[in-house]
C-alpha cells in the first residue's frame, strides 16, 4: 500500500468555504491533515456490527421532523425534552451520552440515511449485501476479503510468515466475519478470548498427491496457523494494556473492545477487528410500555455508546488513538411507523457512525424527511450508498489507490472524505486538550482555529503584531465541544499574527505565522 497523498487531501480540505459559518462546526470540513496519523500500515479499522437492523430513527433523531415522527411512532418515540441535542436539527437517544461526548470532542461522525438501492428487507440477504459490499447474489467474498485477496492472493498458503506474522483480521467471538471471506479462506481469525491458549493437536499428515492428500496438507497448515496466530495474539494481549476506567465489565461489547485495545497496544499488526452486538431486531418490546426511554433498544444503544466511548477514551490514554478508526453498520433501519407491539419492523436506510480521533468528525448527509402521511411499510429512503463509505474508508484510511478500489465494487464509487485531522496531542495530553491551537502553523492561505467552548457566544478576531484588528473571522453562538473554524489568510503579508478567541468564559490568544 502506498503512502497517503498529502497534497491531494489538502486540496480537498481547502474546498471548504471558510466563511459559510452557519453550522460550520457541524460539518467538520475544516479539519486538515495536520498531525495526521502514521502510515497506513499501522492503521487499524474496528467494525461494530449491529445485528438485526437498528432503528435509526430512535438513534439519531431528526428533530426537525419530530412532529411527523410523533404521528407515526407515538408508542416508541423518545419524548422531545429528553432527547440529547447534538445540533439544532439532530438529537441522540438519551442513553447515548458517551457518543455525544465523542461528537463534541470531534471523535464521531454521523452518516445519515445509509443503504443501497432496492433495499432487501430480509436479514440474511441484506446482511450478505452489507458483508459482501455487493448486491450481486452470486458474490460470496466479503468486501474486505475481496480486497485482501487482491493483495495476498495465495492466502492461507505460507501464512503466517515473517512479513505478516499476525492475522489480517480478528473477529471477536466464535465466528469468522463474512466481511473477510476470501476465495480460499477467511482472512479473519475468530477470537473469543485473546488470553486463551490455543494448542490444537497436530498429528501430522502427509500429502500423497490425491484429493485426500491435498486436504491433509490444508488441515495441517490450518492447525499450525491457528496455533501460531493464537500465540502472537496471546503475546500481544499480554504485552498490551488498557488504561481507561470507563469500561463496564457487564457490557460484553465493552469487554471485547478492551481486549482489542490490549491487542493493539500490545503490538499486534492486525488491521481489522470486527465486533458484533446482537438483538437489534426489535419487532416487539423495543421500548418499555410505560417509558419509551427504557427497554431493549435503550439497553443496546447504551451498551454501544458506552463501550465505544470507553474504547476511544482508552485509545487516547494509551497514545494510539491516531492509529484507530471505527465504524458501525447494521443490515437495515426500521420502518417509520411503529407497530402495535411497541416495536418497529424491517425498514431501509439508517445512520452509520464513524469514530476515532482522525475521522472527519461531524455529519455527512442531511436529515431524512418524514412526510405527514406515511404508508404502511414506508421506510427511510437511502441517501448515501454504504459501498461508497466502504470505498472511502479503503481510500482514506488504508490509502488504497482509487484504481484498485473501483474494481472491488459494482457501481461507480462516490468518495466521501472520511478522514480528517487527528486530535492527537489533544486527546493524548489531557492537560493540553482544551487549549486552543491554529493549524497549520505556519500557514499559507488557509488556516483553522481549534478550541473548546461551552454553549456560549464566541467572537474570533485576527490581529496583527501590534494588536490591530485585521478582521473578525467569526462571531456567533456555538454549542459545547471542540470547534474547528476555518479562515483565510490570502492577501496578508508574511509575518506574525494573533488569532484571538473571545469566549464568554475565557479569552485565548494564539500566535500564527503567515508564510508565502
Amino acid at each position: 500500500m502506498k503512502r497517503r497523498n498529502f497534497l491531494r487531501n489538502m486540496t480537498l480540505a481547502s474546498l471548504a468555504t471558510p466563511f459559510a459559518l452557519k453550522g460550520v462546526q457541524y460539518k467538520g470540513l475544516a479539519k486538515k491533515l495536520f498531525n495526521y496519523s502514521k502510515s497506513a500500515e499501522d492503521r487499524v479499522l474496528v467494525i461494530v456490527r449491529l445485528n438485526g437492523g437498528n432503528d435509526g430513527l430512535n438513534t439519531v433523531i431528526p428533530l426537525d421532523q419530530y412532529g411527523n415522527l410523533l404521528a407515526q411512532r407515538s408508542n416508541v418515540i423518545i419524548p422531545q425534552p429528553n432527547i440529547i441535542q447534538v445540533t439544532p436539527e439532530i438529537g441522540f437517544h438519551p442513553v447515548m451520552t458517551g457518543m455525544k461526548n465523542m461528537f463534541n470532542d470531534g471523535n464521531l461522525t454521523i452518516i445519515q440515511n445509509v443503504g443501497y438501492p432496492e433495499q432487501n428487507r430480509s436479514h440474511f440477504r441484506s446482511m450478505d449485501i452489507w458483508s459482501t459490499g455487493m448486491t450481486d447474489i452470486s458474490e460470496t467474498r466479503g468486501w474486505l476479503g475481496r480486497y485482501l485477496d487482491s493483495v495476498y492472493p495465495n492466502y492461507p498458503n505460507d501464512y503466517p510468515n515473517a512479513a505478516n506474522p499476525d492475522p489480517f483480521a480478528i473477529s471477536m467471538g466464535s465466528e469468522v466475519s463474512s466481511t473477510c471471506q476470501g476465495l480460499m479462506s477467511n482472512f479473519s481469525n475468530a477470537i473469543n478470548d485473546p488470553f486463551a491458549a490455543v494448542n490444537l493437536l497436530n498429528t501430522g499428515a502427509v500429502n500423497d498427491g490425491t484429493y485426500f492428500g491435498s486436504h491433509m496438507e490444508y488441515l495441517s497448515i490450518l492447525i499450525d496457523q491457528t496455533n501460531q496466530y493464537a500465540a502472537t495474539i496471546n503475546a500481544a494481549a499480554n504485552a498490551g494494556s488498557s488504561l481507561s476506567s470507563l469500561y463496564d465489565v457487564n457490557n460484553p461489547l465493552a469487554v471485547q473492545l478492551r481486549n482489542v485495545a490490549k491487542m493493539i497496544s500490545g503490538g499486534l499488526k492486525t488491521k481489522v477487528y470486527i465486533l458484533n452486538i446482537n438483538g437489534f431486531d426489535t419487532h416487539d418490546a423495543q421500548v418499555d410500555a410505560n417509558n419509551t426511554m427504557i427497554g431493549n433498544h435503550a439497553d443496546l444503544l447504551k451498551k454501544l455508546s458506552d463501550a465505544i466511548n470507553a474504547f476511544q477514551n482508552d485509545l487516547g490514554l494509551l497514545g494510539i488513538s491516531n492509529r484507530v478508526a471505527g465504524m458501525t453498520f447494521s443490515e437495515f433501519g426500521r420502518q417509520i411507523a411503529s407497530n402495535a407491539s411497541l416495536g418497529t419492523d424491517h425498514g431501509e436506510a439508517a445512520p452509520m457512525f464513524l469514530f476515532g480521533s482522525c475521522i472527519n468528525a461531524g455529519i455527512i448527509g442531511s436529515n431524512p424527511v418524514i412526510p405527514s402521511t406515511v404508508n404502511s411499510q414506508d421506510a427511510v429512503p437511502m441517501q448515501i450508498d454504504f459501498r461508497d463509505i466502504y470505498a472511502s474508508i479503503l481510500k482514506d484510511w488504508f490509502e488504497v489507490p482509487e484504481i484498485e478500489i473501483q474494481p472491488l465494487f459494482e457501481q461507480a464509487i462516490t468518495y466521501y472524505q472520511v478522514l480528517g485531522a487527528c486530535n492527537v496531542g489533544l486527546n493524548e495530553l489531557v492537560e493540553e486538550r482544551d487549549k486552543g491551537i491554529v493549524y497549520p502553523n505556519p500557514a499559507v492561505n488557509n488556516a483553522t482555529v481549534r478550541f473548546k467552548c461551552h454553549n456560549e457566544r464566541v467572537k474570533i478576531e485576527l490581529l496583527d503584531l501590534n494588536g490591530r484588528q485585521i478582521r473578525v473571522v467569526f462571531e456567533g453562538d456555538l454549542t459545547y465541544g471542540i470547534q474547528n473554524i476555518p479562515f483565510e489568510l490570502e492577501g496578508l503579508k508574511s509575518g506574525q499574527y494573533f488569532v484571538v478567541v473571545n469566549k464568554e468564559s475565557a479569552k485565548e490568544s494564539i500566535a500564527l505565522t503567515k508564510i508565502q
Partner: protein, 539 residues
Amino acid sequence: MIPDQIVEGPLTMSMDPYNGTWTQQEAGHLLRRTTFGPTFQQIQSAVNLGMDATVNSLLQINPTGLPLSYDPNETISAFGTTWINSVYPAGAASAQVHENARIKSLGAWLIKRLNTENTTIAEKMCLFWQNHFAAVLAPDSRASYQYHLLIRNSSLGNFKQFVKDMTIDPTMLIFLNGASNNVYSPNENYAREILELFTIGKGPQIGPGDYTNYTENDVAAGAKVFTGYTVDGLRSATLTSPVAIYYDILHDQSTKQLSSHFGNQTIVANGATEYADYIDVIFQQNQVATYICTKLYRYFVNYDLTLDVQTNIIPVMAQTMIDNNYEILPVMQLLLKSQHFYDIAFHGALIRNPLELVFGMFNPCDSVPNFDLVSNSDLYISIYDFCQNMGQSYGAPPSVAGWIAYYQAPAFSKLWVNSTTIKNRFDLANYITVYTGIPINGNNFKVNALNLVNGLSFPDNAIAVIDDLCTVFFPKAISAAQKTLLKFILTGGLPDFEWTNDYNAYAADPTNAVVSTPVRTKVEQVLARIFQMPEFQTI
C-alpha cells in the same frame, strides 16, 4: 497447497457396474458417502450383502416420525403430541411464543433424524435437497415442516414433479417472494432462481441479459407465469395449516413469450396450473438433467469436475435421467453402483461437513440419547447449535445458493474448516470423549464408547480393535506408525494382553463400573485422538 489440476485424478471413467473387490474399504466408502456415520456392524453387513444389494437397500425412503410438542410454552397441542396441524393462539405475542416453542421442536426433529435413521440414504438426500432448494425456515413452523416433508418425500422421486411442488410450497412462496408476486407488482425473485439455481443453471453471459441457457426476458416472463399464488393461514388461529392459495384475479393473463433458448415457445394463460406448463417447457431442455446431475456428482462423489468427468460421467448420468423422465432414483442407482464411484481417488476426497462430522462421531458408537422427550429434544437443539458454530445450520442455509462449500471454487469442502471451526471441531471432539460430554438438564451426553467397542469384530484384541476403528472412522488406511500410537493409547503402553484382561473383566460383569470404567476411558482416549486427526475430517 497443491492445485487440483496436479492432483492424481480418478483412473476409472466407466459408469458400468462395479465388479472389483468388495471389502470394508469399498463398503465403508459407500456408507460414509450415503449415511451419517456407519457402525462397524453396518459396514460388515454391507460387505456380506454385496455391493448391488447394499445400494438397493440404501436407496429407500422410510416413513419418519413427527415433531412433538415438548416446550411448556406450547399450550395448543398436548405434550408429546405433534403440533403440525395445530392452530396458533390468537394475538401476535402468544403466537410468537408458540412459534418459538414449535421451531425448537422442528429443529430437534430435523437433527434427531440424522441420529436415529441412519440405515438408508434418506437423510443425505434430504440435506442435498435442502442445499438445493435452499429456503430458510418460514415464520410458521407448520409451513417449515411441510417444506421439509416435501423434501423427504420427493428426495428420490421425480425431479420435475419436485420442482413443481416446490414452486407452490408455502415456505418457498414466502422465501422467494412468490407470495407477493402478482400481476400488479411482479416479483422476479423466484422466476430468477428457478432458472439460475433450481433447474437449468446459469451459463456464461453471451450477450446482453443472455446467460446461455436463459435470458433476462425469460426471467421476466417467468415472473408473470408465477403470478397469482400467495400464502394463507400463517400463524392462523383458525386454519390448521398454512396453504398456498391461487387468486385468478392476481394472475397475469397475458401470453408469455420465451427466448430462443426455449425454442421461442409461448406460455398461454392457464390459471392455477400455468406454472406447471412453464416448468414442463424448462424441462424440455436436457441441460436441466446435466445441471442437476452435476450437482449430485459434486455432493456424492467429488467437487472437482475434470474434463474427463464432464465428458464421460456427467453425460451418462444426465442421459439416464432423461431416459427415465427425470426420475432421481435410477440416476442414484447408476452412480452408486458405478466403477467410477469406487475409484480410490475419491476415498477421503471431501471434507466432512459439520453434520457429517458430529454424527460421524456419535452414530458409529450407537450413541442415541435416551433421556426424556424434553432432554432429548434439548440435546438435539444443542447439537444444532454446535453445528451452527461449525458453519452449518440445518434449516437456515446462508443463502439461496446453499452452503458455499458446495459451490465455491476452488476451495469447496475445504471451506468447512477455518481457524475457528477447526478449534470448534476439536473442542467438541474432546468434549464428547474425554471430557464431561454435552450437558443437558443435569445429564451429560457423550459418545458411547462401550457400545462401540462391543460391536467390533474382536473387542478383546487390541490390534483388532484399532484395525476396526480405522475401518469405521478413516476413509483410507493410515500408517503403521499411526496405528501403533493409537494402540499405545488403548493399552496405556502396557502389553496387549492387559487390554484383553481388562476387556474380558468388563464383558463378564458389564454393569460393574469398576471394570467398565477403565475400558470406557481407554476407548474414549483413543477416540479423542482419532477425532482430532486430519484423516478423520475427510470422508
